[in-house]
């Protein structure tokens, strides 16, 4: 199948207008020695029905969280996505549009970006938000590079309790820019803030902590911010937006930049993407911020309107001196987050966070009462916690699959000294019954 509308008559008329006898002539500038002299080696084309069948078969080879009960988290959470979100982002006026370069016919997207920016500022209690970044991992890298530009310093301190994928991404970016990445150890699941004091210097561009961190522990962000600011370094807070329904937001503990993964805001887990990188900051750093931004303005007749602004920071104007190379971002995911947060509203965001908190603590308590299981760390947590297991967590998870449960995430592959532990997440979707079933299944396994 293809989507080309031309009849052979159309084609010959057009060739005639152009003044060539064949389409091949239009490719006469391609040197013949490099032209492909065969057909591409691809499987035969499919009709729409055959395609749907083939792709459904592939989809069917995945075990989904619609059929299994999941306790997996680690940066990607099984929250409920309300129907309104899917319906709005499925409006083709939105999803088949490009980046809103022509503002007059893109007010829909531009206004929704402006609303998104406002929502993210509210949630994080920061001044300024961009229109999105690729994801949480690249968000951390962008925040580190932004800090380096603001402070003109080349050293980044990051806690080992930050998501391992985020740290690996940061190091990959940092290598090319000769940014020196220093990792701080953790103690009892939370960052050793005294160790930051020992490592920080007037070379430090920023200190990066995540809260709740990779282990689910809530960090003492206010103290870490204080330590960073004593040396005039920026404090970068990596946060989970749903948790901000009840947890102290970055703006209140002195963060200069807040970043994170916004998948929880109405975006499917989708095997890890597309998700939503968000970044908010204090006003004074606005012009060093990466990514697109929508701003409010008006037309000749005084009508309010929105457009992409502060473009002098961006690659299409500033080229090699831009604040980031990002061009396409995650706009449709940001729209999903906008609709989701408006669906929740002031009360709902608190309520969903409370449900996660209560259910996770119930699960933690129940699990800890099983012989051989105990919570590994003592710091307060939100909806995720590390469980020490009596037998290898990989074996436990394998056993749970037979009971149709996706257990936690075995941590040995991320931290060699945590091969006896797994990370468990509980969202508002998990019921008491599911948690109790998990416990019974575990009893049967050990």
């Amino acid at each position: 199948m293809d989507y080309v509308p031309h009849t052979s008559e159309d084609r010959s008329e057009m060739l005639k207008t152009i003044g060539v006898s064949s389409i091949d002539e239009l490719f006469s500038d391609v040197p013949s020695e490099v032209k492909l002299d065969r057909k591409l080696n691809l499987p035969p084309a499919m009709s729409e029905f055959e395609l749907m069948k083939y792709m459904s078969e592939l989809a069917g080879k995945n075990a989904t969280t619609d059929c299994m009960v999941s306790f997996l988290g680690a940066g990607v959470y099984d929250h409920y996505v309300p129907s309104v979100v899917k319906h709005i982002i499925s409006r083709s006026e939105f999803y088949t549009s490009y980046t809103p370069y022509q503002a007059e016919i893109s007010q829909g997207m531009l206004q929704s970006i402006f609303e998104y920016q406002t929502l993210m500022c509210e949630l994080t209690a920061m001044d300024i938000s961009n229109a999105s970044l690729y994801d949480g991992a690249t968000g951390i890298a962008e925040a580190a590079m932004m800090s380096s530009r603001v402070t003109r310093r080349q050293e980044v301190i990051i806690s080992r309790a930050v998501h391992p994928d985020y740290r690996r991404t940061l190091k990959t970016y940092a290598h090319n820019l000769e940014l020196n990445v220093i990792e701080v150890p953790f103690e009892d699941g939370a960052t050793d803030i005294e160790a930051i004091r020992d490592l920080i210097s007037d070379k430090t561009a920023c200190v990066i902590l995540q809260s709740p961190n990779f282990f689910g522990c809530i960090e003492n962000m206010a103290l870490a911010a204080e330590v960073a600011h004593e040396k005039k370094a920026l404090f970068v807070a990596c946060v989970e937006p749903i948790s901000l329904g009840i947890l102290t937001p970055p703006g209140e503990y002195g963060a200069d930049i807040a970043v994170g993964e916004g998948q929880g805001l109405g975006i499917p887990m989708g095997f890890g993407g597309p998700h939503l990188g968000f970044l908010t900051c204090r006003k004074e750093h606005m012009r060093q911020m990466p990514g697109r931004v929508a701003g409010e303005t008006h037309d000749d007749e005084g009508r309010r309107g929105y457009l992409l602004t502060l473009q002098a920071r961006e690659q299409h104007i500033r080229r090699d001196r831009a604040t980031s190379n990002i061009c396409s971002n995650q706009a449709l995911c940001a729209l999903a987050a906008t609709v989701y947060l408006s669906w929740l509203g002031k009360q709902g965001v608190k309520e969903v966070a409370e449900l996660c908190l209560e259910k996770a603590h119930y699960a933690c308590e129940r699990l800890s009462s099983l012989p051989g299981f105990e919570r590994k760390y003592s710091a307060p947590f939100f909806n995720e916690f590390v469980m020490k297991t009596p037998v290898k967590p990989e074996e436990i998870c394998e056993g749970l699959v037979k009971a149709n449960i996706l257990g936690g995430l075995p941590l040995g592959r991320f931290y060699s000294d945590l091969s006896d532990s797994m990370l468990m997440a509980v969202t508002e979707k998990r019921t008491k019954e599911e948690i109790d079933t998990l416990c019974r299944a575990l009893e049967g396994l050990v």
Binding site: V4, S28, Q107, G273, G305, G345
Partner: protein
Amino acid sequence: MTMPLIFEKSKPGRKAYSLPELDVPKKGPDLLPDWARRKQPASLPEVSEVDLVRHYTELSRRNFGVDQGFYPLGSCTMKYNPKVNEDIAALSGFNSIHPYQPEELVQGALELMYEFGRDLCEISGMYEASLQPAAGAHGELTGLMLIRAYHESRGEGKQRTKVIVPDSAHGTNPASAAFCGYQVVEVKSNERGGVDLNSLREVVSRDVAALMLTNPNTLGLFDENVVEIAKIVHDAGGLLYYDGANMNAIVGIVRPGDMGFDVLHYNVHKTFSTPHGGGGPGCGAIAVKEILAPFLPVPVVEKQGDLYTLDYDRPQSIGSVKGFYGNFNVMVKGFAYIRSLGAEGLRKVAETAVLNANYIMRRLKEYYHLPYDRHCKHEFVIDASHQLKYGVHTNDIAKALLDLGFHAPTVYFPLIVREAMMIEPTETESKETLDAFIEAMIKIAELSKTSAEKLQTAPHNTVVGRLDDVTAARRPVLSWTPPEE
């Protein structure tokens, strides 16, 4: 009429959400220490569900997508986005899966990624792919990181400090080079719109890490000297980066790998029809020659017997450029597109895209200045120099097109053409649509002579008129603040 913001529709106590009742014994305040608790709730809007739906439906009506009309935005390949691919990508088996599920439970997803990567290698003439980059610019940065890793592995990392970029290149090329720690050296275009070989020879030396090239370039012109260009760079020990934004012009006809390039990125959200989502998400998959494969980001999807796995054990890997494996849902759509079209369908894409572009170009040549008069590929650049004498600029032409129901071309890019308009029709547009656009462009050319002022104040039929961008940048208002009580 001013369109209210969602915040301006808020009323305390209204709600759209519904959540399950708490079914475990409530612990309440005990669960969090006071210092960790939020004191001031986030002021999110409080609206009913129907008002929420009407608000965003109304906003969608203030937006223009490919489904609304012709979208000849050059360099962006705004082709039709097949509906079946949306339905496929919405399948539960592709959405309700966690990236850390055990590999045995996501074999379908891994198989799809593996097969998609193989297809991308075949289409580009490359050896191995990585699907991790989230967009074109991200692919550029990743590709350059591989090039850096390659030079470092040969002990030439310190010596090779420069990346050559033509003056016609997209802004992300120099920006990506800079974010990979390279110094950008610009090379001039010649009178045919290609890379000027003499200028290139002057800047190529042992301190060059790579040349980044878009071919066909941003003028829509195929650089006939590509083999010679590759030789000049390779002879000096540099590598060649191919910006694949314009792959729509050449799929099935010529392959970057065969032209001599060592790495390319695809814009899956252009060439392979996945919708652009109002700015993203995209997929900037890269494919490389064998010499760069050891450095690819982890994890790499591999096939062992009948089992698909994620390989993290690549000692020379640059690391990761993103969380997890890339924008998977976009890959699903891109893969569905490739498999539905097959080899012949893909070749037809390029042929028709090129036919359509040349057709418009020939017909507009009489009315607009065509700075490079030769066969174009999938797009071409004209400029407003004929209209300038009436005081009509490219921006005026673009805005007038909006009034006539079309999206505007890409304007003021590439930078080497003054008052540029870059027109890319794509292969999915019928002759009737192209003719209607041509008529509109001719009408605007006529209007510039007779009623310049009408064009200078366009658009007139849109929900807002031209917006004041100077004030917006000087005194930025980037979020809503409630009016003072």
